[in-house]
């Protein structure tokens, strides 16, 4: 078991009170697993991704724990967490286009970063990895501004995985890219895993069709809670949570036409996370809701490797 997360809660501090962006999340990630973490805006998927490596200024760790390769991961303690970063847990950020220091040559920046983490510069390995993502080694002698968007994205992917982390968090890495580069980037992620450069991976995304292409499992979040986790095929073909079902059936696929088959969205809006309702948070939009939904449904395993938080699915 690579990663075990136990009842993790992370809130955002705002003027109006705490936004309960991540409100009690329990799951685990196996060795070699690529997990797609899907959800809409405000579902808490990005918060979950970030909280496993570094909480930003307004995020507060309220409770819960994480364990990586049998060691306790001190997610709430910025300082104690530092030895794990880069070595054990790494991140490909959403802002890959601006993630590199604009006034340093890339190779030198990587050297300085490595040295600051107590690792000897590894020029040869770096060049090999740069080649692996289809870049020539001379990008290391260039400044970030001299690279195209796709090149920067790939370079950041190389940097983030340089120390072969156990867990890689890829946060919306494809969302700013064109269709064709999306595919290349997604395939590179797959290759990182297949070559054992990273042990397991959480791919945070709002695009289920994309993550379906590369993920072993998909975990769907809604309003700060887990809704469903299963293998990618099960999530796409036989989801059990009403939210997942509605979400999947609202996606137009190539071949589906308005005239022939009219797709439906999900009416309503997600609840405010300042003061979320008790019980199931999807209740107000759910076509299957009944009295019991006023109680919070547990995130329970309904079949091997398939967990759902819904009374109807149990």
């Amino acid at each position: 078991m690579t990663l075990k997360v136990e009842d993790l809660r992370v809130y955002y501090r705002t003027l109006k009170g705490d936004v309960k962006a991540l409100d009690g999340v329990t799951f685990s990630l196996a060795d070699g697993e690529i997990m797609g973490l899907a959800g809409e805006s405000g579902s808490g998927k990005s918060t979950l991704g970030k909280s496993l490596i570094r909480l930003d200024g307004r995020m507060r760790h309220i409770g819960g724990s994480a364990e990586l390769d049998g060691k306790d991961l001190p997610v709430g303690d910025t300082h104690a967490m530092n030895p794990f970063r880069f070595h054990e847990v790494s991140l490909i950020p959403q802002y890959a286009m601006s993630a590199m220091n604009p006034t340093r040559k890339i190779g030198r920046m990587v050297d300085e970063l490595l040295r600051s983490r107590g690792v000897a510069p590894m020029r040869q390995e770096l060049e090999r990895r740069v080649g692996l993502v289809g870049l020539s080694a001379d990008v290391l002698d260039r400044y970030p501004i001299e690279l195209s968007g796709g090149m920067k994205q790939r370079m950041v992917m190389v940097i983030s995985t340089l120390l072969n982390p156990s867990l890689l968090i890829a946060d919306e890495v494809t969302s700013a890219l064109d269709v064709s580069s999306q595919k290349a980037v997604a395939k590179t992620l797959l290759e990182f895993r297949d070559r054992d450069l990273v042990k397991s991976m959480i791919v945070v995304t709002h695009d289920i069709s994309l993550v379906y292409q590369i993920a072993d499992t998909i975990m769907v979040m809604y309003a700060g809670k887990l809704a469903e986790k299963a293998t990618a095929d099960v999530i796409v073909s036989a989801p059990r949570h009403p939210y997942t079902q509605a979400l999947i059936s609202s996606l137009p696929e190539v071949g589906v036409r308005y005239e022939e088959r009219r797709l439906q969205g999900i009416p309503g809006r997600p609840p405010s996370l300042l003061d979320p309702p008790k019980g199931c948070r999807f209740r107000s939009r759910c076509p299957l809701a009944f009295e019991r939904c006023a109680e919070e449904p547990p995130f329970a395993e309904v079949a091997p490797g398939h967990s759902v938080a819904c009374w109807k699915a149990v």
Partner: protein
């Protein structure tokens, strides 16, 4: 109705216009009443520039855009007939004013003498057309509304005028999956009311869902266009095929199909050299289906497909 004829756009960049950038080159197609045309392209394809030219937000460098045979540059009150909605719902509203100000601006310019009751009725009927509850959106600030509500409100704004043509530039790409389909369905309903719609998108599956005609744009040129079922069902241009192959689908993984060979993917009027000089023009490969780069002897894959 709206017709583009060999439309080009050249931007001058650098100080005192030192360099030229060809954003759109010789693009021609037509949008009829009650028809959705999707304009598909990746970043840098010129699709947004085309939309802006149609909306008269950018000047046409060469060629002409006509509405019912009259050049749009010479039309008075053009915006009564043609309106637009843009990508980012949050940046479409001036953040310091209430959201319904976009409606009020239409009233000031186009209905200055309309009475309050008539106006109110007009607003309510166009809100009803986009399925918005007046109480839920009027008098609210943009940040109090969801992205989907904001985009609908903008469509309602366009409907206040008796428009015949709507340019929808990536209007759902920033919305959540569960709400975007409803806005897309709305476009379908509008075309049922006789509107012509230019739906600009980078997402092929969305274009396919709602449109009658599809225009695929690359580096400012049309590479393929025609009836949507033909373009998607029998893509002829290697670029279109590659694009379609890259679209992530549900129920079908990339690895199950062959990647397009490298040279097909990079074919752009037979490779890198002489792009402009040898643009072969569009050829009607089958009725209602046009493809660029099909007649030249050097572009074997595409040629074979046409045969």
């Amino acid at each position: 109705m709206l017709r583009l004829d060999r439309v080009s756009k050249t931007f001058r960049t650098g100080s005192f216009g030192g360099r030229e950038l060809h954003a759109v080159r010789e693009v021609g197609f037509e949008v009829a009443q009650g028809e959705v045309v999707s304009l598909i392209g990746e970043s840098g394809s010129g699709k947004t520039t085309l939309g802006r030219m149609i909306l008269r937000l950018a000047a046409v460098s060469e060629g002409s855009i006509t509405l019912d045979g009259v050049d749009i540059a010479r039309q008075k009150d053009y915006y009564r007939s043609v309106q637009g909605v843009f990508q980012d719902p949050f940046s479409s509203y001036n953040p310091i004013f209430k959201a319904d100000r976009v409606l009020e601006m239409i009233r000031q310019r186009f209905f200055p003498s309309m009475g309050a009751a008539d106006w109110r009725a007009r607003v309510e009927s166009s809100l009803a057309a986009v399925r918005l509850d007046p109480g839920g959106v009027l008098g609210k600030y943009p940040h109090q509304l969801s992205g989907g509500q904001l985009q609908r409100l903008l469509i309602a704004r366009a409907l206040l005028l008796d428009i015949r043509m709507l340019v929808a530039d990536e209007i759902i790409s920033m919305l959540d999956a569960s709400t975007r389909i409803d806005v897309l369905n709305l476009l379908g309903e509008l075309k049922g009311r006789g509107l012509g719609i230019l739906f600009i998108t980078h997402d092929l599956s969305l274009g396919n869902y709602v449109s009658e005609k599809t225009v695929v744009l690359r580096s400012g040129r049309v590479v393929e266009m025609g009836r949507t079922e033909l373009v998607f069902g029998n893509p002829l241009h290697p670029y279109t095929r590659n694009l379609l192959g890259s679209v992530p689908r549900l129920h079908r993984r990339w690895s199950e199909e062959e990647d397009a060979p490298e040279e097909e993917a990079t074919c752009f009027y037979h490779g890198a050299a002489g792009r402009d000089a040898t643009w072969p023009g569009l050829v009607e490969a089958e009725p209602g289906h046009f493809v660029g780069c099909a007649t030249s002897g050097t572009c074997a894959p595409a040629l074979e497909l046409v045969r």
